[in-house]
């Protein structure tokens, strides 16, 4: 194990972490920015690989910030997976290709982002069923989808973005199913009317998705095929229709990757409207309940890249104690946050989605635990011990939010290692 020291350690090199590292680095601090991926950018600015092209506006924003990052003096550690941390001793442990690195910090900024919420239904484990953002990431990574028939389903504005992107890369997007009904969406539209920027964005996304049928009040209830995916059954609660397709891209909103924050003891808040989401509590300076630990971006509330950049800037300056700069960048963050949270209620998950879970439906994909085996348990802990649900390598990251939505059981405390690591990494002491 190698040990390193820095003044400001930033975890997660998406927009929030990049902004935080830039602001702390430009303030003269010695900064280390880490990410599990091979390159900086996070999900939204993920590098396009294998001779793909990028949307010009997204690339422009990414280039500006990545250039700024390159000049701010921060050192970047890619391919580093955080698996343990100690808030009292001020260190985080990472597994890298070169072994374990233990990085000690004076201030820590958590910007670990979010993952997609997926909900189970018969056949959702079939090859060819993807998380919507996951399919986007795979396409950015060089997956050629020319001519593939894709059905996009789930909830929220990200479905439109996904459909637009997949179409632009040659996929044939058959339709977009939005589980929220027209009535909820109208409410969403009314909220947006007060916020011209957001309206513009939503409209842009709609135009991108323009030629594709958009069906509010519909959802997927089965994915079938002889092995890999061949067809999908969709329903509006009254009718059920079968649609032939090659790929299904699913997304039921985002869940924060707050496992490390919770392991360290940062206070978090859940919400019944966002099952499985433990958002990290922060004050006006992005400080968590722990001294010297800050959080920004999606782990504090789902808000998108612009809000993440604003929160990251506040966190970066706050971690250096530059209050004058904090006061300068905080108003933009406050304004963006108000706009974003106005749309939260429009995409609440409908109760009927629970009914799609049949007794045979696998809930835990790591341990292959069907819904029937969860009957009779009273808590997540009981269910884990009794059925092994959530005990596999993903450690409940996929099934946890689904279990909370369907059975109402909230996840329990987080223990190290927070992600599977090689046995040697656990015993590698300084």
């Amino acid at each position: 194990m190698t040990r390193r020291d820095c003044e400001v350690l930033v975890l997660g090199a998406g927009p929030a972490g990049i902004a935080a590292a830039c602001c702390a680095g430009e303030s003269g601090r010695q900064v280390i920015l880490t990410d599990e991926n091979p390159a900086c950018g996070g999900q939204i600015w993920r590098a396009q690989r294998g001779a793909m092209h990028t949307r010009a506006d997204v690339q422009h924003a990414a280039d500006l910030w990545l250039t700024r990052l390159g000049r701010c003096g921060a050192s970047v550690l890619s391919g580093a997976t955080a698996f343990d941390a100690d808030a009292a001793l001020h260190f985080v442990r990472f597994e890298t290709d070169r072994g374990v690195e233990e990085i000690h910090y004076s201030a820590l900024i958590l910007a670990t982002g979010a993952r997609e919420r997926l909900l189970p239904f018969p056949g959702w484990t079939r090859s060819g069923v993807y998380a919507a953002g996951g399919l986007q990431a795979l396409v950015k990574g060089g997956f050629r989808i020319d001519g593939q028939r894709i059905l996009v389903a789930g909830t929220g504005p990200l479905l439109l973005a996904a459909a637009g992107m997949l179409g632009a890369h040659g996929g044939e997007v058959l339709m977009i199913l939005e589980q929220a009904g027209w009535r909820s969406l109208t409410r969403f539209g009314l909220h947006l009317a007060g916020f011209p920027d957001k309206l513009l964005q939503a409209a842009t996304l709609m135009v991108q998705a323009g030629v594709v049928p958009y069906r509010p009040g519909w959802w997927v209830c089965e994915a079938g095929g002889n092995g890999p995916l061949e067809w999908v059954a969709i329903t509006d609660g009254k009718r059920t229709v079968r649609v032939d397709c090659d790929m299904l891209a699913l997304g039921y909103g985002l869940v924060p990757n707050s496992e490390l924050a919770r392991l360290m003891g940062c206070r978090t808040t859940g919400s019944s409207a966002a099952p499985g989401a433990h958002f990290v509590d922060v004050d006006a300076r992005q400080k968590t309940s722990l001294d010297g630990v800050f959080a920004c971006g999606e782990i504090t509330g789902i808000g998108g890249a612009e809000l993440s950049l604003a929160e990251g800037s506040v966190a970066g300056y706050a971690a250096c104690g530059h209050w004058h700069e904090v006061d300068r960048v905080a108003p933009l963050r406050n304004c963006l946050a108000r706009q974003v949270h106005a749309m939260d209620s429009a995409f609440a998950l409908r109760d009927e989605l629970r009914a799609a879970v049949t007794p045979d439906t696998l809930v835990c994909r790591c341990e292959d635990v069907p819904a029937a085996e969860l009957a009779g348990f009273g808590s997540w802990r009981e269910a884990k011990l009794g059925s092994r649900c959530g005990m596999g390598p993903c450690q409940g990251r996929t099934c946890g939010p689904a279990v909370e939505f369907v059975w109402g059981w909230s996840a329990e405390s987080v223990r190290p290692p927070i992600t599977p690591v090689r046995l040697g990494s656990m015993s590698d002491q300084p």
Binding site: R49, R115, G134, D368
Partner: protein, 81 residues
């Protein structure tokens, strides 16, 4: 432009786009089964971002490698289940 690298997939040499992610390259090659689940189902990439563990394959002898997080390298040996 359009440079390629050669990987060895289950003993067979295959050409993939240079710089592409391994999960993406395997999908482009038509691979749909990456691993077998504990009850024997064939599984493939789901989250695309290192969370779900469904895309695990053996890379250069190291089992359980999440191939959505790995960039293709020349002569990389890859085994699916």
């Amino acid at each position: 432009m359009n440079k390629t690298v050669r990987i060895v997939l289950n003993g067979q040499e295959r050409e993939v786009a240079a710089g592409s992610m391994l999960a993406s390259a395997l999908l482009t090659l038509g691979v749909r089964g990456f691993r077998r689940s504990v009850k024997g189902e064939l599984r493939g990439p789901l989250c695309g971002m290192g969370v779900c563990q469904e895309c695990r394959v053996t890379v250069d002898g190291r089992p359980h490698s999440k191939c959505c997080m790995i960039v293709c390298r020349d002569h990389m040996k890859v085994e699916t289940e």
